[in-house]
């Protein structure tokens, strides 16, 4: 989406240039640049923000100019008269002027703020909207799709919204422990994820690709490593993804008598206390759902690429890769580790 003002100050331009290079990368939106909005809420905010920045810059140049002028013009230099300047005590007219003008500026900004605030917050959610429940955990994200009965972690898919085919995604935000914040700058401003409360926000992403975001509320030791990825698919891709997520886990349909040694090793490990693999006896709900682990791009709250090597390192000692995280180190021999990795990598 294009914005109306392209010139709100040199520093924003500089910031945009800095990001431009990264933006080139195919389908990847790693930029958190709020002035590059790619969904309606972010665009509304960006437009209002640019207006605000322009007004503030105008005020800055006027006042800083007055200050600079006063400093330069009225500075005392060696050789100047040492007598006191005329003693001026004030002027009511001038005081009124610099009270009224700021009030007018505040009035303008207030009107614009009120309009955008209610436009974003009180937006009517259409009947065909996709609902996703976002649950913040220390220190990962859970995403549930109540309509499709699927659950995933740390990265989630939403459909593209176009003029021809508008599709709004409504996010319901909940927390499993402490307060978190859901923030993907190119899609919308942040909304807090608070225990015992249900917050909501909406997005309608207008470009496909992967969007990066972070937890925006300090939530304890690993607050830094609580990234989130939003993957925007075309409607067709999205349907395929949903079907794939709804499918049973690999090997879960093996007939009685058939055995898979790797799967058996997994199911007899402590992993199943916290993790779920649909269709098996692994039904833990404390940690991320692993049914389609291999369909994700990343591991460990979007921290490392999803490769067998990273997975092995993570399982070997989760506390080394992400100290303080809630996944305990389960002592595994090298052979057992290999079995775990071999099984988990089948979970496409």
């Amino acid at each position: 989406m294009n914005t109306r003002y392209r010139w709100p100050g040199g520093f924003l331009l500089f910031a945009s240039l800095l990001c431009a290079q990264q933006m080139q990368a195919e389908g990847m939106h790693p930029s958190g640049n709020m002035f590059r909005p790619l969904a309606t809420p972010a665009r509304l905010v960006s437009d209002l923000s640019e207006l605000t920045v322009v007004i503030c810059l105008a005020v800055f140049f006027v006042v800083a100019g007055l200050l600079a002028f006063a400093v330069i013009r009225f500075g005392w230099r060696e050789g100047d008269s040492k007598s006191e300047p005329p003693q001026v005590y004030g002027s009511n007219q001038v005081e009124i002027a610099w009270t009224v003008i700021p009030i007018l500026i505040v009035f303008v900004l207030s009107m614009a703020t009120a309009r955008v605030t209610s436009e974003v917050q009180n937006h009517k959610i259409p009947k065909d909207a996709l609902y996703v429940t976002v649950i913040g955990h220390q220190w990962w994200w859970e995403f549930q799709y109540p309509d499709f009965k699927i659950s995933t972690a740390n990265e989630f898919h939403v459909p593209l919204s176009t003029m021809a085919q508008p599709k709004l995604t409504s996010l319901t935000l909940k927390s499993a422990d402490v307060s978190h914040g859901f923030w993907v700058p190119q899609l919308a401003g942040k909304t807090d994820v608070i225990p015992n409360r249900t917050n909501s926000m909406w997005i309608d992403p207008q470009e496909t690709g992967t969007y990066l975001g972070n937890c925006s509320e300090y939530c304890g030791t690993q607050h830094a490593k609580m990234e989130v990825r939003v993957i925007v698919d075309t409607p067709e891709q999205f349907d395929i993804w949903v079907k794939q997520q709804q499918a049973a886990a690999a090997n879960s349909t093996l007939a009685a008598g058939q055995t898979d040694a790797n799967q058996a090793a997994f199911l007899s490990s402590a992993c199943i206390v916290c993790h779920t693999v649909n269709g098996t006896s692994a039904m833990g709900v404390v940690g991320p759902d692993l049914t389609h682990l291999m369909s994700r791009q990343t591991l460990v709250a979007a921290e490392v690429p999803n490769t067998a090597a990273n997975l092995r390192e993570w399982l070997k000692d989760p506390q080394k890769m992400k100290p303080g995280n809630k996944m305990p180190t389960v002592p595994l021999t090298d052979a057992e580790l290999n079995q775990m990795v071999a099984y988990l990598t089948t979970l496409k």
Binding site: S49, V53, A70, V71, Q87, Y89, T117, V178, I194, T221
Partner: protein, 566 residues
């Protein structure tokens, strides 16, 4: 017109008695059991500077960890303790004691009194605040484990959001150290506020009506009012949190239907006035210093008082601008946006009045004035980024990002710290009888300003590019590296500046030029007595006829009282 009587003697009787006493008993007498407002004021400032060094080192370590992406200089746990201690120390054990010290030292001298209204309460306030700081740092020795909340220093942030502070998530004693030390500091601040109000209202010298009272004292009265209104919500919330932690209450315990947002309301009901509590004393210093160096009276004295009082009142109704993202209804967000922007109006009036005071003056660019000019420039920028943050939707993007970090460091370093250095440079001769070196002062000034800008300017952009606060590390490739790298170097420059400041102070104490009573040719009463002032401040209490008594004295042909209504 009546003149101001200068002190008659230096109290030789006292000195003779003291000479017999040993060094230690003199030390104890003057710096431990003293109830003299000047000694307590200086003690407050010295303690604040010690904690400033501690918190500054923490800030430096934070920046070193963030210098590179994926850095492992500090562990996550240690980093979280660092920013919690940095914030808590800077607010409660640097900012608050420093302004209490200024108030204690200056107010009785400026209103022509012999001491604060309650000298013993004053000593209590100092020692209890200091005890709070020591308690906070003793948490480092209460180490019981390396997991979150179990060991060592508090790790819940200076804002200590529930439910992270509940037993379930912070099982050890670190959060209790935070609660109790901050509570002690609040007691100290509260008694100081009571003392300031009582002193300003009851102890003014003959002829000093409220309308003639120095603006510094006026602004400290506003601050004291804010302290009395704002600190009780924090203390109440902390008591509730203690009940949660030790008595099984559930005020903020979300595992038992407690309310996490309730804590935020309480905290910011304190926290937002608190930021004005910290900055208004800065305004107060600037308001005294600019006129003296511009050689003109403050422009729009009544407007300045009105603006200060309105900031004091409006600031009590803006707390939820820290909560635009918690899911308040849109009308609440709009209300708090408008209220917050309105604070900009009286603040703008002040900035215009300061500039108007310089306008048409003959500005002497001595170090105190340089700090004031830097303050004006920084605070203008900080105020404008504050307006951006006040716009609720803008804040949805900026809140909890590095933009906020840059914004409030602009207000607190670019703003408050600059004014405190201005104050130190200006009143140091009064307190010690020695002049600071102008040369070292200018090195200090320019290095500090350069270091400050290198540290914080780029962080605005890192925030606009989506970098969240309070993260102990960040990945490469999100456009944040350069800003963080340069920011860390900026801290090094600031550290050099602070070392020069320390050198300047020590050097001046040892071999500084004698200051005399009135080195700046100033106009308020503290310059009418000796430097340093005797124990009783004024041998004969002066009588004043205008807001610039020393101007009247120096310009009998054109005194201020001719133009002021009483």
């Amino acid at each position: 017109m009546a003149s101001i009587s200068h002190p008659l003697d230096e109290g030789h009787g006292h000195s003779a008695a003291r000479q017999k006493a040993s060094f230690w008993s003199t030390f104890v007498d003057q710096w431990i059991i003293t109830v003299d407002h000047k000694h307590l004021g200086l003690m407050y400032i010295i303690v604040a500077l010690l904690f400033f060094v501690a918190a500054g080192i923490q800030g430096g370590l934070i920046r070193m960890q963030l210098m590179y992406p994926n850095n492992t200089f500090l562990s996550p746990q240690v980093f979280n303790e660092m920013f919690t201690m940095h914030g808590t120390t800077m607010v409660f054990f640097v900012g608050m004691p420093f302004i209490a010290g200024l108030a204690n030292y200056l107010i009785p001298l400026m209103i022509g009194a012999r001491d604060m209204a309650f000298p013993r309460l004053n000593a209590l306030g100092f020692w209890i605040t200091t005890l709070g700081g020591i308690l906070l740092y003793s948490s480092y020795f209460a180490w019981t484990g390396s997991a979150a909340g179990t060991g060592g220093a508090p790790d819940v942030g200076w804002f200590a959001y529930a439910p992270l502070t509940e037993k379930a998530f912070s099982p050890g004693s670190s959060t209790d150290f935070w609660i109790l030390s901050v509570m002690l500091s609040s007691i100290g601040s509260t008694v100081t506020a009571i003392n300031i109000l009582a002193t300003a209202l009851c102890m003014r010298t003959k002829g000093m009506t409220l309308s003639r009272m120095p603006l510094l004292v006026w602004m400290f009265c506003v601050v004291s009012f804010q302290i009395l209104v704002a600190l009780p919500p924090l203390t109440a919330a902390q008591i509730m949190l203690l009940l949660d932690r030790f008595m099984g209450a559930h005020f903020f315990d979300t595992n038992a239907v407690g309310d996490a947002v309730l804590w935020r309301h309480f905290f910011w009901l304190f926290g937002h006035p608190e930021v004005y509590i910290l900055i208004i004393p800065g305004f107060a210093c600037v308001t005294e210093i600019i006129p003296v160096f511009a050689r003109k009276p403050i422009f729009g004295r009544a407007a300045m008082i009105g603006a200060s009082v309105s900031i004091g009142l409006i600031s009590l109704g803006v707390w939820a601008h820290h909560m635009y993202t918690v899911g308040l209804p849109s009308r609440a967000n709009i209300f708090f946006s408008v209220a917050t922007m309105l604070v900009g109006v009286p603040t703008g009036i002040k900035i215009f009045n300061w500039i108007a005071t310089m306008w048409g003056g003959r500005i002497r660019f001595r170090t105190p004035m340089l700090w004031c000019i830097a303050f004006l420039f920084h605070f203008l920028l900080a105020g404008l980024t504050g307006i951006m943050l006040a716009v609720a939707p803008f804040d949805w993007q900026l809140g909890n990002s590095y933009f906020v970090v840059a914004h409030f460091h602009y207000t607190l370093i670019g703003g408050l710290l600059c004014t405190l250095f201005a104050g130190v440079a200006y009143w140091f001769p009064k307190a010690t009888g020695r002049m600071l070196s102008e040369k070292l002062g200018k090195w200090h000034f320019w290095l500090m300003i350069i270091g400050f800008h290198v540290t914080f300017d780029g962080l605005h952009i890192a925030g606009l590019l989506g970098m969240p606060r309070r993260i102990y590390t960040y990945p490469a490739g999100r456009g944040w590296e350069g800003f963080n790298y340069f920011s860390t170097w900026g801290v090094a420059i600031q550290a050099v500046a602070i070392l020069i400041f320390v050198w300047n102070v020590l050097d001046a104490l040892i071999q500084g030029k004698k200051a005399g009573n009135d080195p700046w040719d100033a106009w308020t009463l503290e310059w009418a007595t000796t430097s340093p002032p005797p124990e009783y401040n004024f041998a004969v209490l002066p009588e004043v006829h205008s807001s610039r008594p020393l101007w009247d004295l120096k310009h009998p042909e054109d005194p201020d009282w001719k133009y002021e209504q009483s």
